[in-house]
Amino acid sequence: MEDYTSIFFAATSLWAVVILYLIYLHRRVDALERALKEE
């Protein structure tokens, strides 16, 4: 293992967290829009 692979894995994990958060926000927008329409 090169000594910079830990940096890559850390950075990739953080990007994965950001992407999951983005998907969560998209789903939250969808849910709020649906609730508004139903009301």
Binding site: E2, D3, Y4, T5, S6, I7, F8, A10, A11, T12, L14, W15, V18, I19, Y21, L22, I23, L25, H26, R28, V29, L32, E33, A35, L36, E39
Partner: protein, 217 residues
Amino acid sequence: MLKYAALVLAFLLFTYGSYNVLFVFEDISSPGNPPMAKLYRNVFFHVPINVSAFLGFTAALVASILYLHTRRLRYDLIASSTAKVGLLFTTFTLLTGMVWAKPAWGAYWSWDPRQTSALIMWFVYLSYFTLRNAIPEKERRARASAVLGIFGYASVIFTLLSTRIFPSLHPPTLGLRLEPEMGMVLGLMITAAVIVFFSLVSLEIKIEKLKEAREVR
């Protein structure tokens, strides 16, 4: 599916950049600091996140000034959303910096001026949200957080200048010299981070607006 276009573009740019960083770019010559010959690669992950964090706090500063000037709550919404994403990205900047510092400096945390000033900045913007949560009344909350959003920006300037003011192990900001193809990949990685930044901010703003629309009903 179009709404995920920005996300897919950012993902492709990040994947292309990571491939180059790991498999194409060779070690650089660093006789003064041998570990940096390999560890310079962190620049491609750490800097784009940091640029987006500074972008967030700068946008929060501009929106705070505009709020105090116009008293329109939409600027307060922009300020809080950009500061929120800026705080998230600062957390990631601190983490990627720590992971790099371990092999480069021998410890995750060594109270280097850049680490310390970035941590102070993180606490300043954390207090921004503590303040917002403590004030229920909208106008008062917007006014108080706009003032903190303006004065808190001093911590961003202090972080940027910390490596010039104090003796620091951290490479100086804007002092980086890269080969043209490395510079191009760094530019692409910064673009990916900025795309993600704007996607997060626009979604945060949309959610707050939808919540308000529900409250009005």
